[in-house]
Structure formats: C-alpha cells, structure tokens
C-alpha cells in the first residue's frame, strides 16, 4: 500500500514537473568564446559560461498566463515608469490577446522591465547581450556561421521582411543548440541592452563607434556579417527600458 502511495506521488510529481518543463522549454548552451562585433576590448574573445536558454521566444499565451498570476503587470495597471503607453497595445484587453493574435506568436510590445519581471517570475533572467549573440551566430550545423554568406543573407533578408512578429514561434530554422527564432521572427530584449554607446557620449567608446559605422560601408562577407550584427546593436542602442514596440519580444535564460 505504502509503495503504491509513493509510486502515485512520484508519478503525479513527475507529471507536474513535466508540465512546468513544457512551459519553459530550455536547452543547454555549452560554454565557449567568441569575438562579438561590439563590446570586446581589443577584439579579444569574450567568454560565455554554460547556461540555459529558452528554445522559443515567450508567446502571447505564456505571457497571458503570467499576467493572470501577476495581474499588477496588466495593461491598465502597468506603471508608466516601467512601460510606455503602447505596452501590449495590440492585445484586445487586459487578459485577452485577441483574435488577431496567435496564442503561439511571440509576445511583443513589452518593455524591458516587463520582460525582466516575466523571467524573474519563472526563476530565470534575461540573457546577456553576449550570451544572446553567442547563440545567434549558430546556423543549423555550426556554432559560428557568421562568415557563411547564405547565413548572413538569410538574416539580412529578414530585416527587410515586414510583420514577421505575427508568425508562430518555431517556424524558422533550428540552430546548432536546438534554439529557434534567433533570426527571422522578432528582435529580443537582453538584460544588459543598456551597455551600448552609439552617441559617442563616452569618449572612450568613440573609436568603437567609428569602427561600427565604418564597418557598414563596405560589402564583403565579413562586413555583411558585421552589418547584420550592427543593425542589432544599433537597435539596442536606441532603446530605453520602458520602450515597447511591436517587433520586439524576449526569451529567458538561466545559469547552469
């Protein structure tokens, strides 16, 4: 009898944990080093420690579930300091993403504060910019496909495609790590998005800025890769933590 009881408990616990696991499907990203376009002193490789990353960006349905648990984050109650007026503006109402939006489309129009809080509430965090870029340089087969022309062309062609944010998650390619949608769906928040300087306000960074802008002028394979990355860094550099926009979503990460 006791055995059966224990067995049942374990079974139910397993069921419960597998349900949670399904909510936040993550894969391990092994440690490594790479030279990011931006932020490495003297072009020295940046070390990335092993961590877990969501396979997909957070969806409308997942975000709705979060709002139900933490209703202080709903549209009508969100404080202005944490999100601007367009926060979830494409949703039908506070607890309804509406018929026009897919449940499995990435949630967008969320601020950095909201994204950060979502991840914290899952016991997770936003990935750092270096972590995000590290995962984003992988194609289907390689950890670093940045010099592959077709890979860069794919990324660049997405930048020209309108309204991809309305698509379901998981329809772009599965990369080396088993992660989807790093390119081709939405832009994504990173935890330290506000560590970029494009205005040259800090004198130390002026050289880096010049490199960034000069890199975008020429057109060989490496420059194409730089240009794609430059677009991302420039975009992040233009953001403020309370900003929300319809093509900007997020996913969560976790320390290993």
């Amino acid at each position: 009898m006791l055995k059966r009881k224990i067995g049942l408990s374990i079974l139910l616990l397993l069921l419960a944990t597998s349900l949670w696991a399904q909510e936040t499907k993550m894969v391990i990203i092994e440690r490594g080093a790479f030279v990011p376009l931006y932020g490495a002193a003297n072009k020295k490789p940046v070390e990335v420690q092993a961590f877990y990353l969501d396979v997909y960006p957070v969806t409308n349905a997942q975000y709705l579930a979060f709002l139900k648990k933490h209703p202080e984050n709903i549209r009508s109650r969100m404080k202005g300091i944490f999100a601007d007026k367009s926060y979830l503006s494409h949703w039908a109402s506070d607890f309804n993403y509406g018929k026009g939006n897919l449940s499995i489309a990435p949630v967008t129009n969320v601020s950095w504060f909201a994204a950060k809080k979502y991840c914290e509430c899952q016991g997770e965090r936003l990935p750092t910019m270096d972590e995000w870029e590290y995962v984003a340089m992988a194609d289907e087969k390689r950890i670093d496909a940045r010099t592959k022309e077709s890979f860069n062309k794919y990324i660049m062609s997405w930048y020209e495609k309108p309204n991809t944010y309305a698509n379901p998650v998981g329809e772009t390619f599965k990369n080396y790590w088993g992660v989807y949608d790093m390119h081709g769906l939405v832009w994504e928040w990173t935890g330290d998005f506000n560590s970029i300087f494009l205005s040259g306000e800090s004198r130390k960074d002026k050289d880096t800025d010049k490199n960034l802008f000069c890199g975008s002028a020429s057109i060989n394979a490496t420059d194409l890769m730089n240009y794609a990355a430059f677009m991302r860094y420039a975009f992040r550099g233009s953001l403020k933590a309370s900003y929300t926009t319809k093509n900007l979503g997020f996913r969560c990460a976790k320390d290993k």
Binding site: K5, S9, A16, G39, H70, G80, I81, K117, E201, K204
Partner: protein, 215 residues
C-alpha cells in the same frame, strides 16, 4: 473503501506538495510589491507613489556610512543623481566636479530640501568604505551628499530608469553615460543634463524651482 481513503490521502499529500512548490515559484518582485503595500497602510496620510516615480523601484541600497536604505526613504527631497565609479580616472572626476559646482550654486534657503546622490556602477569595488574615502577626498561630506551602492542587478535596473548606459570594459574600468538627473519630491524625473563640463544653469534652475515648492 480503505484503499480509496488512502488514495485521497496521498492525493492530498501531493496537492499539498504542489501548492508548496507553487508558492515557492512566486517571484521575489511580488513580495516586495506586497511590502510597499503594507507601508502604504501604515502611513495612510502619505500620497500614493505616482506612476512615473522612481520610488516604484523596490531596490535596497547601502550608503557611504554603511546604512541600508531603500530609494523610497529619499521621498520628499529633490534628488540630483549621477552614476559614477570611484576608481574612474577620466570622465567621473569632471562629473563629480559638475555635481560640486551645482551644489555650490544652490540658494541657501533650499539646500535642506536637496540631496545630491552619487550611485556607483561598480558595486564590487565600491564598498561603503571606499565610497566614504571618496567622499572625504572630494570634500563631499555634508549631509546633502549621499553615496549609494547595491547589487549589480539593481544597479543595471536603476541605470535603465535614468537612461544611463554603462559597460565594464576592463576590471575597474567602465564606459558610461554622463548624465545628471533631477528628480522632484515625488521621485519623477524633471530634468537631465547630458555631457561633462557643460553649463549647469538650467539644472540649477530646475532644482531650485522644485526645491522651492517644498519651502
């Protein structure tokens, strides 16, 4: 029948466990939210915090005198805030000079309503002892001067509110925006001065204006 009750018992057990686990899952922010709610009921006379106030941030900070405070403890003062790190050799000394210059030009009758706050972006190195030494070295020892440090995460969040960008480029060396921010007594941003060694007349005017309201 007996087996049935055993089953319900074990179900209860599992349910209890699941509830326990679920409650553990609730995020830390929520707890802090509750806490500020409690505070509000303790002091019903106090106006609720406005939507755009930095006092919505629940983060905890340590001062140069090793005192633990929350940002909201500063409510009711006009705040002049800047983010620096004490081992900085290039821009910060000038930012600090700008802060001193602003302080020196404030009318005497409003000084009691103003706090000048320097927030460290290098909490690892800038211990309270370090901050204290820095305040003495830079002759910023009066009550109007406040030096703060917190966790790396709180610091990053606070910088996001101030629209200050920063990045560690080497141990003890950071790139950072040079922005001095003025907050009114409610904690709402009322002015930002960008750059170093710039004319501070506008900033001083704004501080005076906001601080005069408190006289």
């Amino acid at each position: 029948m007996k087996a049935n009750s055993k089953l319900t018992n074990s179900l209860k057990l599992v349910l209890g466990l699941a509830i326990m686990l679920l409650s553990l899952q609730s995020c830390n922010k929520k707890k802090e939210e509750n806490k500020s709610g409690e505070n509000a009921t303790e002091k019903p006379a106090v106006k609720p915090i406005s939507d755009l106030s930095i006092y919505n941030l629940p983060s905890k900070w340590t001062t140069q005198d090793n005192k633990n405070i929350e940002m909201v403890d500063l409510k009711g003062k006009v705040l002049v805030m800047v983010m620096i790190y004490t081992s900085c050799k290039s821009a910060c000394p000038r930012l600090v000079a700008d802060m001193r210059n602003i302080e020196a030009h404030l009318p005497e009758n409003i000084k009691k309503n103003v706090k000048l706050v320097l927030v460290s972006i290098d909490p690892e190195v800038d211990t309270p002892t370090k901050l204290k030494a820095f305040s003495i070295e830079n002759k910023m020892e009066g009550d109007q001067w406040l030096f703060l440090r917190s966790t790396e995460e709180n610091t990053r969040e606070f910088a996001a509110v101030l629209a200050v960008n920063y990045k560690k480029i080497a141990p003890m060396d950071f790139s950072h925006s040079n922005i001095i921010s003025v907050f009114n007594a409610e904690g709402e941003l009322s002015f930002q001065q960008e750059g170093i060694g710039v004319n501070s007349d506008e900033t001083i005017k704004k501080i005076t204006e906001e601080a005069n309201k408190l006289n």
